[in-house]
């Protein structure tokens, strides 16, 4: 996980959205790496900036109202933010592919599955018609769809939700990308289907040795697939580190509170810990640490100074100086 080996490395990324009388700082200084063949999870609640982060990697943030206010996105050591539209087009789909949350609306209802996968193949590669069909069938087989020859002739509405998501994955894989960004790909699916899709992603990632940036709000899903986790809150990364480190020994009060507030059978009869208040509106974030109004460990400093990243070793960082070695962590101003 050394920096020079990272496939994607996001450095101090800032994305703001301007409307006439307010600025929403959706992403406010986010840095993380995705190494080769690694699955990194961006976890967070709605409005924490996880989807905007992913969209800026794809170069899909609508500008205006959006605006990249700073930072770098290094993919294979090249800054994607310097690319123009046609350069970005070559990267998109070819080297970085994306899977969306809603499988029904991400597929065009008037074309067959075969047309759509074929299109994905032909945009970036030259292939004859029969090669395209052959590759499409292989892709569908890879994502575990039975009878691929028949399915290629089907329209999206003839497939179930899980099958559509498999088709979306097949389309993302069409050009052998190095990095797949999956934006809540299982949120709209049933639990049993979700388990299947997660296992599918896992096998495909191993088979094709690609990297995955997985975006989700579900800590259960994270525990199943992640190598490393970045916990986001209100546009910043609150904590990042290896899966076990973050989930078993969380160092940021937000992560700790989230884990404590998850209901399950073992906690029956006890009162759940609940984080008071609501997620802040990105346009009206509190000063200092954005989590301090809801935090149990708030001290005077939290509302005045911006907390610095504290290093717990082995790539485990948390942005909370209060809990670091008895409050000896550093603060930014």
């Amino acid at each position: 996980m050394a920096d020079n080996k990272a496939l994607l490395s996001v450095e101090e990324l800032k994305v703001y959205f301007r409307s006439e009388d307010e600025v929403a700082r959706a992403v406010d200084g986010v840095s993380f790496d995705v190494g080769r063949e690694e699955t990194v999870c961006l976890v967070g609640e709605s409005g924490c900036g996880k989807t905007v982060t992913a969209l800026s990697v794809m170069g899909l943030v609508p500008i205006p109202p959006g605006e990249i206010a700073g930072g770098k996105i290094l993919f294979r050591a090249k800054n994607l933010l310097d690319f123009n539209d046609s350069d970005m087009q070559k990267v998109r789909g070819n080297q970085i592919a994306m899977i969306f949350q809603e499988p029904l609306t991400s597929l065009n209802p008037v074309f067959t599955i075969g047309d759509q996968i074929g299109e994905a193949i032909q945009i970036h590669q030259t292939a004859t018609q029969s090669e395209v069909v052959e590759r499409s069938q292989q892709l569908l087989k890879d994502v575990g769809i039975a009878d691929p020859a028949q399915r290629l002739r089907d329209y999206p509405h003839q497939l179930s939700g899980g099958q559509r998501q498999r088709v979306m994955i097949a389309m993302a894989l069409a050009c052998d990308p190095d990095l797949v960004i999956a934006d809540e790909p299982t949120t709209a699916l049933d639990v049993t289907v979700q388990a299947q899709i997660l296992r599918l992603l896992d096998t495909i990632q191993k088979m094709r040795s690609m990297s995955v940036l997985y975006i989700t709000h579900d800590l259960g899903v994270v525990s199943k697939i992640a190598d490393r986790i970045c916990v986001m809150y209100a546009g910043i990364i609150a904590e990042q580190g290896n899966k076990d480190a973050v989930l078993k020994t969380p160092k940021h009060p937000y992560t700790q509170a989230l884990l404590a507030s998850l209901p399950n059978r073992e906690k029956r009869g006890q009162r759940l810990y609940s984080i008071p208040g609501t997620v802040p509106n990105p346009a009206y974030k509190p000063d200092g640490c954005p989590f301090h109004p809801r935090c149990q460990h708030t001290i005077q400093n939290c509302s005045e100074q911006y907390p610095g990243m504290c290093d717990y070793g082995d790539g485990h960082h948390a942005r909370c100086p209060v809990l670091f070695e008895g409050g000896k962590g550093n603060w930014c101003d």
């Binding site: 609640e45 709605s46 039975a146 179930s160 939700g161 899980g162 049933d190 639990v191 049993t192 289907v193 979700q194 388990a195 299947q196 997660l198 296992r199 709000h217 579900d218 800590l219 259960g220 899903v221 525990s223 199943k224 989930l247 509170a257 989230l258 507030s261 998850l262 209901p263 399950n264 059978r265 906690k267 029956r268 009162r271 759940l272 810990y273 609940s274 984080i275 008071p276 609501t278 997620v279 809801r294």
Partner: protein, 333 residues
């Protein structure tokens, strides 16, 4: 079913409930088939207790909720509310009973009238329960808002000014305005942010112990159900497959479908049952169900006998019913 002594302790008893929806096609709107949304559903809710109704999307759990509230009319079967059968009542006879049963919805955005202030929405219920006096209404309104953890000042604001969790609280206050005995919670936390879920779950628990409420808790999230419910009914394609006290269900699940659901919880504590999952592809619809067991297409234990005979409940322990002849014979899954 013949427990005369404990009869008053049962707030709701559903017996052999059935609801089919016609599918109409063509110019004359001829009925070409039936969607068997709810078939032979029976359960009981004791006063002050919580029954969890678990299943995937489309299994008929929301239809059951609407049948109980008489927003839909049942085709067959009985719904005994406080020992009174409500299926035969007309709108006028139903009116006093409506106050006894209320519902909380999944989508906090669609469940409040956007053109009414919070106070007006809740006052609708107060008028129904005969509080017309303005100052008494305000008094009660204040108390209800306090009860759900909102300040009385929110009453003259509109729903769009609140976050999802806050709206869910307002929805709960509206349900409480008529002082119901039973509240049907239709996935009340699944659309909420993780940090807000615990707040609402705690609120529901507090209200239950303060007001002696009974809940029918509909959910697809087994973690929440395991935390909150006393008894659980697992539903699949309109049938209840397993019906047991929560502890028994989680510790000794019998039905293959229950096993599938439990193994699909994305959580480190449950291992994936690979063999079970491999056979368990999702199945299209409830349109033309096979005769015999409705789970047979996904079931690893599927045998010839499953295809023909209608499958009856087998008693596996005190209060533990399972709709599977094979696990009943083997004594375990």
């Amino acid at each position: 079913m013949n427990e005369m002594g404990s009869r008053n302790a049962t707030i709701l008893q559903v017996d052999n409930l059935k609801k089919y929806f016609p599918i109409r096609r063509g110019f004359f709107q001829k009925i070409t088939g039936w969607v068997r949304a709810v078939e032979n559903v029976s359960f009981k809710i004791k006063r002050g207790k919580t029954l969890g109704l678990v299943g995937e999307s489309g299994c008929g759990k929301t239809t059951v909720a609407r049948l109980i509230l008489k927003l839909l009319d049942a085709d067959e079967g009985q719904i005994l509310f406080d020992a009174q059968d409500i299926t035969q009542l007309d709108e006028k006879e139903m009116k006093p009973l409506r106050k006894e049963m209320q519902i909380i919805f999944q989508d906090p955005y669609g469940s409040l009238n956007p053109r009414m202030t919070v106070g007006q929405s809740i006052a609708e219920g107060l008028k129904i329960s005969g509080i017309h006096n303005r100052s008494k209404q305000n008094q009660r309104l204040e108390k209800l808002l306090k009860m759900v953890g909102m300040s009385p000042a929110s009453s003259d604001r509109f729903p769009h000014e609140f976050s999802g969790g806050q709206r869910q609280r307002i929805g709960i206050a509206r349900a409480l305005s008529v002082e119901p005995a039973l509240i049907i919670c239709d996935e009340p936390v699944s659309a909420l942010d993780v940090s807000i879920q615990a707040q609402i779950i705690n609120l529901l628990k507090d209200l239950q112990s303060q007001l002696e409420l009974s809940y029918l808790f509909i959910s697809h999230d087994l973690n929440v159900v395991g935390y909150l419910c006393d008894k659980v009914a697992v539903m699949y394609k309109g049938h209840i497959m397993e019906y047991a006290p929560a502890d028994a269900l989680f510790d000794h699940p019998f039905h293959p479908y229950t096993h599938l659901l439990l193994s699909a919880i994305p959580d480190t504590e449950h291992k994936i049952d690979a063999e079970l999952n491999a056979t368990a592809d999702e199945v299209s619809n409830t349109l033309n169900p096979p005769s015999g067991c409705s789970f047979q297409e996904r079931c690893p234990l599927n045998e010839e006998r499953c295809k023909h005979n209608p499958i009856e409940f087998e008693k596996m322990g005190p209060d533990h019913l399972v709709r599977c002849w094979k696990v009943a014979r083997n004594g375990s899954y």
